[in-house]
Symmetry: C2
Subunit: 447 residues, 2 copies
């Protein structure tokens, strides 16, 4: 054993679910990590015979898997969770969300994002895509907390409480791209809000900026029947068709929601190599509809999984989201074979990485990948006995089963304790900000 | 303070959500318990000024509420969780479930039920309705574990691995009713499986037995489109119409699932005073459909909430089930105001009690009610800040937030530790039985 190679971290578990090309599962298995990267993944005995970990995380009742990827959220809105529910999307946005957001400031977004990150890490999400105001504060929170993210300032025609006129928003986006270009865990994308809040000119300028800087272009697209009807009336095209006419359908584009689609829309998305972020719980809660995920996957469209914000979900638990995604496709199609468990797990791992431009870096446990991994505690009644790990991960587990979380080779959660930053401070700050938010007056509270 | 009345248990929390007639909420609040019954519920200071608890459970960051009621499950099937998924209902039943159940015995059902009870208690369910084979073993597990339940032997025309011919099943049911008639936490119901597995004669005999003994009559009803089509072809009536012709629609009847209903069916259920157990996650996973819960509630039909078994869910977490129920109605009706959070909470509490014949005894915290209560830990990022407890309970919480559980005045879970019985023994027994189940041969495993 004296000639074993030294690595920084060795993680062992009763099960290792790799989400690699061949969907390899090792029971028991191990992952060897050197610095921020995975060196090897395999049967526990083989890995242990070859590597000695400076630090060892041994979970004989644990399941090791890639950290989950939340392909669409607005993390700071965790501060607004439960302030207004059970309302139509337009009313919810116009009467509650947008007015409240006029009172937002950098401090609120920074602490709201930390709150969201705490929830995500503790429930097994290691990467998220964020679209929000004061994206500089979001980026700072990501840098400070140790999580991985693709962030971006939300852009629209009307003045923003964050940057003011849209010209400033485009400048801010480019500055953020420049500022964080070399950060190991953070990238910045261009994020026009939606086709109904952005002029064709703004959309094209966003597309140009994303292409020029080689970054993702992210937009809420075809979320509701109202959006589609209005777009048809105004532009004579569906939202997807509208972006197609503007020349914006490309493999850099990520379409959030993509609920109300025609067959032609789906073909266009597939031809363009566009990615989709599916947000089933938000789409259900806001009564937007049921996205045709099965049909998109059949066309080769990569579909990631998002929670959307805490204001329309109302949590950031991707385990519950996988469960809902798998079940929603079955009932939508009245076909119990739709979106089986392993495919649902792909949405929150491999596919999530692909739609965020992180393919080959995260979303699987494989040599050379970044060391973003989580461990679930299997020694629980709802996970006992275990016949099929894919079934348990999608249909039985929840984020609360996550025990330990590693991002970029660093242990951020260990045995359910958040090590990355001070949770009590974040919770106290959130409660303090909530008292301010409650006093925004008129714009909040049950109707 | 010397003249305070002595009670056996005093529970205090930052919030007390009563689910009483007026939906009273106290923040902070307290519940005083004497023996198995609630003495009073109110503002913490008032209750503490008047009562002194021999035992005190003080949760300054906790939310106290009634224990949840699972209106339909098959607890012992927790042993089958994840053995076969993503299959059509008929194939799943005929090819996997029924063949496997031919190998069942009393020991498996006893330990499988204990496993299910462990999961239910730890996730905040204090009462459940069970329909299964070897119901005597289910009853024994309920008696031994401290939970509350309505159990019953599943009856059908073909020979049962439990009792043999159906005559023996009816006799067994009556014996069980007699045996447990005075048990404080357990009652026995008559449980014909479904209209497609029970002859009209058997259904009528079941109805007669339930009426004669004054117990519930419970049946899977109108679960799938296939069931309805077959019933129309065979009996010239929908499943609800069929039971109506047999004179079985009454307020003693509980219809599990009730997914595929006509307007006339819903009117018949309402007129008969029939209760419904809604199982949204199972109905989604098996692609049965989306039950018209909003329309049933509008007619005054009491609707409880069930998980169905672990083989079609795959967990027994009623918090997640409330969330799914609320969201599923919204997306089904494309109306975000459908089944708002407080109403969803009613399904798993007040309404659940009503459909199980336990109205006025459990499902709310009120003087004279049985002391079945749970405490959730609010000091978590996904429950911080808190503006509206109903929103958090339905849309943000999960069973893993449950900290402490009291049933019939007895503390069964305290600070997430199961005190009621030996969890490790139950998990070990479940793993041992799983090895046997795997070897049932041919009938199990991925197809």
């Amino acid at each position: 054993m004296a000639d074993r190679e030294s690595v920084s971290l060795l993680v062992t578990g009763a099960w290792v679910v790799t989400q690699g090309e061949g969907r390899e599962v090792y029971a028991p298995g191990a992952v060897a990590v050197a610095g921020e990267r995975i060196v090897t993944v395999g049967p526990q005995a083989e890995v242990e015979a070859r590597y000695r970990g400076a630090e060892v995380l041994a979970y004989p009742s644990g399941l090791v898997m890639p950290g989950l990827i939340n392909a669409h959220t607005h993390a700071a809105m965790s501060l607004f969770r439960g302030l207004a529910d059970d309302l139509p999307l337009e009313e919810w946005l116009q009467k509650y969300l947008f007015p409240a957001e006029r009172h937002l400031n950098r401090d609120m977004v920074y602490w709201g994002t930390r709150l969201g990150v705490a929830e995500m890490l503790l429930s097994g999400t290691t990467t998220f895509a964020d679209m929000y105001l004061f994206a500089g504060a979001v980026a700072q929170a990501v840098a400070d907390t140790g999580v991985r993210a693709v962030v971006g300032e939300v852009l629209y025609d009307f003045p923003s409480p964050s940057y003011g006129p849209v010209e400033a928003g485009l400048r801010l986006t480019e500055e953020l791209i420049e500022q964080w270009r070399d950060h190991p865990r953070l990238s910045v994308a261009v994020k026009p809000h939606a086709i109904y809040t952005c002029s064709p000119e703004l959309l094209v300028r966003c597309g140009d900026l994303a292409a020029r800087r080689g970054v993702r272009l992210v937009i809420h697209l075809a979320e509701t029947h109202t959006e589609v009807a209005d777009c048809l009336a105004k532009h004579g095209a569906t939202p997807v068709g509208h972006l197609h006419h503007l020349g914006l359908l490309c493999d850099r584009l990520l379409a959030d929601h993509a609920v109300v689609l025609t067959e032609a829309d789906m073909d266009l998305l597939a031809e363009g190599g566009v990615g989709v972020a599916h947000c089933p719980e938000s789409n259900m809660k806001l009564a937007s509809g049921m996205a045709p995920v099965t049909e998109l996957l059949a066309r080769g469209v990569p579909v990631g999984l998002g929670t959307d914000s805490c204001a329309s979900n109302n949590n950031l638990d991707l385990f519950q989201e996988m469960d809902t995604a798998a079940k929603l496709q079955k009932v939508r199609r009245l076909d119990p074979e739709s979106l089986p468990a392993p495919q649902a797990l792909d949405l929150a791992t491999r596919h999530g990485a692909r739609v965020l431009g992180l393919e080959g870096r995260v979303g699987a446990l494989a040599p050379g990948y970044l060391a973003d991994l989580i461990v679930l505690d299997l020694n629980r009644p709802h996970l006992t006995p275990l016949y099929d790990p894919f079934s348990h991960l999608v249909y039985a587990a929840s984020g609360a089963d996550v025990q330990t979380v590693v991002v970029h080779g660093r242990i951020l959660v260990r045995d359910r304790q958040l090590l990355a930053f001070d949770l009590d401070e974040t919770l106290a700050k959130a409660r303090e900000l909530a008292r301010v938010i409650k006093n925004f007056g008129g714009c909040w509270g049950p109707p």
